[in-house]
C-alpha cells in the first residue's frame, strides 16, 4: 500500500465529505457471525469528536469528488476549482478494515460525487459494501449514499449490504432546488427513497413469516437539508421534514446550517455566519415532534412561521398556550408532563415512578433533575407556592431569560455589557 498517495486522497476526500452531517451508527442490529470482524452496536458509538464538536463514528469519505453536476451549495460542484481524487474500491475496503481493527471507527460512510452517470457511481458504492460483507466478513456499520437518479435494481442491491441508506434533499423547497441545483429533479431524490422504503416494508413482513430472511437496510433511511441557503422559513423546513418522516418512514432528518463554500449571487456570501442557533432550534423542534407528542402545526403555523431564537420551542409553545397550565406533576398524565418546559423525557419517567410513593414537592423535582427555573411557572406540586401567580407570558419569559444562561445568550441580550 502506498501510504503517501492514500494519505493525499484521504485528505481530499474526507475534507469534501465533512459537510454531510449524518454520523449515526445506531439503530442497526447486525451481529458478528462466523467469528468474523465487527458487531454493530445498537446504541452506536462516537469514537471521537471534531474540533467543531460533531461526533466521529464512521470513516466518512467520498469515493470521488469528480462530479458532473453543478449544484451551487456544494464544494464538489463541477465549476469549482479544487483538487480532485478518486479511491479505488480495494483502497476503501483496506482503510475501513484497518481503522475498524484499531477501534477508530464503527464503520464506513461512503458518499460520492457523480462521475459518468448515477448508475455507474452507485454500482461502485455497492461494490465496496459487497466486498466488505462477503470477502472480509465485516459486520460493522455501513452507510451508503443513494445517488439521485440511480436505478431501482442498484438501490435494491445497496440495501442488502448497507445498514443505512440516505439521499440528501439539501434544499427543502422545490422552487429552491430549481434555483440552486438546476441539474437535479425532485423525482431523482424521491424515487430511490420510495424504492428503499418499499423494500424495507416488504422484508419486514417476510421476516415475520420466515425468520432467516436477510436484513435489508436495518437502520433505515435518513436525509438532510441545508438551512439558511435559499431563504426558506422554519415552517417550510419542518413541514417538509414531517412529510419525509411520514411518506418515506425516515429514521432521521438532519438539518445543516449552510456553510458558505461558494461565491454565488444566489447564496449567502463567503464568510457569513453559519446559522448554528437556528439549526439548534430546528433539532429541538424535531425532537418535540418525534418524542414528545407535539404536532408540527402546534409549533409552527401561519401565525408563527419561524421559531423563536431567544427561547426553546417548547417554552415558546407553552408561553403561547398558558391556558393549559399549571399542570399538576402529581396527577397529570405522561403526555401532559412531557409538555412542561424544563421537564425532559427522562424526568417524566422518574416522576411517574417516584409519585407512586409520595406527593412530590419542589425539592423532589430538583433532585430528579427538572430545570426548575423554567418548570416552576408551569407546574403545581406538593409545595404551597405556585410561582406563576398572575404573571402573563411576557413577564414569565423575562424572568426566565434573566435566570438562564444558554450558550447563545449573549447574542440575544439587549443589556449592554459593562466590561467588555
Amino acid at each position: 500500500m502506498d501510504f503517501d498517495r492514500i494519505q493525499e486522497k484521504l485528505n481530499i476526500l474526507a475534507d469534501a465529505a465533512k459537510y454531510d452531517v449524518s454520523c449515526a451508527s445506531s439503530g442497526s442490529d447486525r451481529t458478528n457471525k462466523n467469528q468474523g470482524l465487527g458487531n454493530a452496536s445498537r446504541m452506536g458509538i462516537c469514537h471521537n469528536y471534531t474540533s467543531d464538536g460533531r461526533c466521529i463514528s464512521l470513516l466518512k469519505i467520498l469515493l470521488t469528488n469528480h462530479c458532473i453536476f453543478d449544484c451551487a451549495y456544494c464544494v464538489t460542484r463541477k465549476s469549482n476549482d479544487v483538487k480532485r481524487a478518486a479511491f479505488k474500491i480495494q483502497e476503501v475496503v483496506d482503510l475501513t478494515i484497518n481503522f475498524y481493527r484499531r477501534n477508530y471507527i464503527e464503520g464506513l460512510f461512503l458518499s460520492s460525487g457523480i462521475f459518468k452517470s448515477p448508475d455507474y457511481t452507485m454500482e461502485r458504492l455497492v461494490a465496496v459494501a459487497k466486498k466488505l460483507r462477503e470477502e472480509e466478513n465485516f459486520n460493522g456499520y455501513i452507510h451508503l449514499k443513494s445517488i439521485p437518479g440511480a436505478s431501482d435494481e442498484l438501490m435494491y442491491e445497496a440495501g442488502l449490504y448497507a445498514d443505512r441508506l440516505s439521499v440528501n434533499i439539501e434544499v427543502p423547497t422545490i422552487s429552491g432546488l430549481k434555483l440552486l441545483a438546476p441539474d437535479k429533479k425532485h423525482e431523482d431524490f424521491t424515487k430511490p427513497m420510495l424504492k428503499v422504503k418499499n423494500e424495507i416494508v416488504r422484508y419486514k413482513s417476510e421476516r415475520k413469516i420466515i425468520k432467516s430472511t436477510p436484513k435489508y437496510a436495518p437502520a433505515g433511511q435518513s436525509t438532510q437539508m441545508i438551512v439558511g441557503a435559499s431563504g426558506e422559513t422554519d415552517k417550510d423546513i419542518m413541514y417538509s421534514a414531517t412529510y419525509y418522516y411520514k411518506t418515506y418512514q425516515m429514521r432521521r432528518v438532519y438539518y445543516s446550517g449552510y456553510v458558505p463554500v461558494a461565491d454565488d449571487a444566489r447564496l449567502p456570501a463567503i464568510g457569513s455566519q453559519v446559522p448554528m442557533l437556528r439549526e439548534n432550534r430546528l433539532y429541538q423542534t424535531d425532537w418535540l415532534l418525534r418524542f414528545y407528542g407535539f404536532a408540527v402545526n402546534e409549533i409552527l403555523n401561519n401565525d408563527h412561521p419561524n421559531l423563536d431564537m431567544d427561547v426553546d420551542p417548547k417554552l415558546s409553545w407553552a408561553l403561547r398556550n398558558l391556558h393549559h397550565f399549571p399542570v399538576d406533576v402529581n396527577s397529570a398524565d405522561k403526555r401532559l408532563l412531557a409538555r412542561i418546559p424544563g421537564i425532559g423525557m427522562q424526568s417524566v419517567e422518574k416522576i411517574m415512578k417516584a409519585r407512586k410513593f409520595r406527593k412530590l414537592n419542589w425539592d423532589h423535582l430538583k433532585k430528579i433533575g427538572v430545570a426548575l427555573n423554567r418548570a416552576k411557572y408551569f407546574t403545581v406540586c406538593d409545595s404551597r407556592h405556585w410561582e406563576r401567580r398572575d404573571l402573563d407570558a411576557e413577564k414569565i419569559k423575562g424572568m426566565i431569560l434573566q435566570t438562564s444562561s444558554g450558550k447563545f445568550r449573549n447574542q440575544y441580550s439587549t443589556q449592554l455589557s459593562l466590561f467588555n
Binding site: 474526507a14 459537510y19 470482524l37 458487531n39 469528536y49 481503522f99 477501534n103 407512586k356 410513593f357
Partner: protein, 258 residues
C-alpha cells in the same frame, strides 16, 4: 438489640455479596462494610472478617436478580465505582429492594435509591466511553494492544463488547491504574495481571514493539481526524466536553496534544 458490627471482606464483588448474605443470615446490625486493604475499626463496633463463598454470593445475586434485572445491574455497576462507603449504601439499597413486593417499585425520591442509580449511571457512562476511546496498536506478535486509565474499574464490563466485536483478532486491553488487563486469545477472554513498566502512550517516539505499518495507519487516522473539522464552526469547549482531556494521552489522533 445486637451490637453493631463492622464487616471486613476481600474487596471482590463475590466477597461483597457473601458479606450481604452473612449480614442477612445472622441478622447483624451492620455498622460498616470495609475492604480488608483499607479497614478502620470503629470505636463502638465489633469487627468480623468474611471469607468469600461463591455459593452464598450466588444466592444473593439470584435473589436480587429475581426482584429486578435493573437492580442487579445497578448494584454491580455502583460497586465497580469504587466509591468510598459504597458497600454500606448498597447494603441499605438491597435491604430496601428486598422489602418491596416487586423490584420495579423502587422509590426514586429516596436518597439512597437515587444515589445508587446515579453512581451506576456514572459507571455506565465510563464503560461506554472506554468502548469508544480504546485505541489498539498492532504489536509484532500480532496482538492488538491498548492502554486505558478509566476512573472506574470497567474492564469486566467491556470485555463482552470487545469479544463480540473482534472475534478474529487477538487483543489485550490493559488498565494502567489498576495494573491488570483482559486478553482475548481467539477463543475466550482471560484476566491477566502484569506490571508493565513501559506504558505505551501515543508518544511520537516509535517503539519497535509495534509493526512498522502501525505508525502509517496512525498517521492516516490522525490526518483524517484533522480534515473532518469544519473551520467556520470550531467550538473547543464542546469538543473537550465530549472528549475530556484526561483521555487524550491514549488517543492516537491526539498525538501532538501530548
Amino acid at each position: 438489640m445486637n451490637p453493631s458490627t463492622t464487616l471486613i471482606y476481600d474487596g471482590s464483588f463475590n466477597g461483597f455479596l457473601t458479606t450481604v448474605f452473612v449480614a442477612f443470615d445472622e441478622k447483624l446490625n451492620v455498622a460498616d462494610i470495609q475492604k480488608n486493604s483499607e479497614c478502620q475499626n470503629g470505636l463502638f463496633s465489633e469487627t468480623e472478617t468474611i471469607f468469600t463463598n461463591v455459593e452464598k454470593a450466588k444466592r444473593v445475586w439470584n435473589g436480587i436478580r429475581n426482584k429486578s434485572h435493573n437492580a442487579i445491574a445497578n448494584v454491580y455497576f455502583a460497586f465497580l465505582s469504587e466509591t468510598e462507603g459504597v458497600e454500606l449504601m448498597l447494603y441499605t439499597y438491597i435491604q430496601k429492594l428486598m422489602a418491596t413486593k416487586s423490584g420495579k417499585q423502587l422509590d426514586y425520591s429516596d436518597g439512597i435509591v437515587l444515589h445508587i442509580s446515579q453512581l451506576a449511571r456514572k459507571v455506565g457512562r465510563e464503560k461506554h466511553r472506554m468502548e469508544a476511546f480504546v485505541r489498539f496498536q498492532l504489536t509484532k506478535d500480532d496482538i492488538y494492544f491498548a492502554n486505558i486509565e478509566p476512573d472506574f474499574d470497567v474492564l469486566p464490563l467491556i470485555s463482552k463488547h470487545f469479544r463480540d466485536r473482534y472475534a478474529d483478532q487477538q487483543w489485550l486491553i490493559y488498565d494502567v491504574k489498576r495494573k491488570y488487563g483482559i486478553f482475548y486469545n481467539l477463543d475466550h477472554v482471560e484476566m491477566v495481571s502484569l506490571n508493565l513498566s513501559d506504558i505505551h502512550h501515543n508518544k511520537t517516539v516509535k517503539s519497535d514493539a509495534f509493526k512498522p505499518e502501525e505508525y502509517d495507519y496512525q498517521t492516516l487516522w490522525n490526518e483524517y481526524f484533522k480534515s473532518t473539522s469544519i473551520k467556520s464552526r470550531i467550538n473547543p469547549k464542546l469538543h473537550t466536553q465530549h472528549v475530556p482531556k484526561r483521555y487524550w494521552k491514549y488517543l492516537s489522533e491526539k498525538k501532538e496534544a501530548v
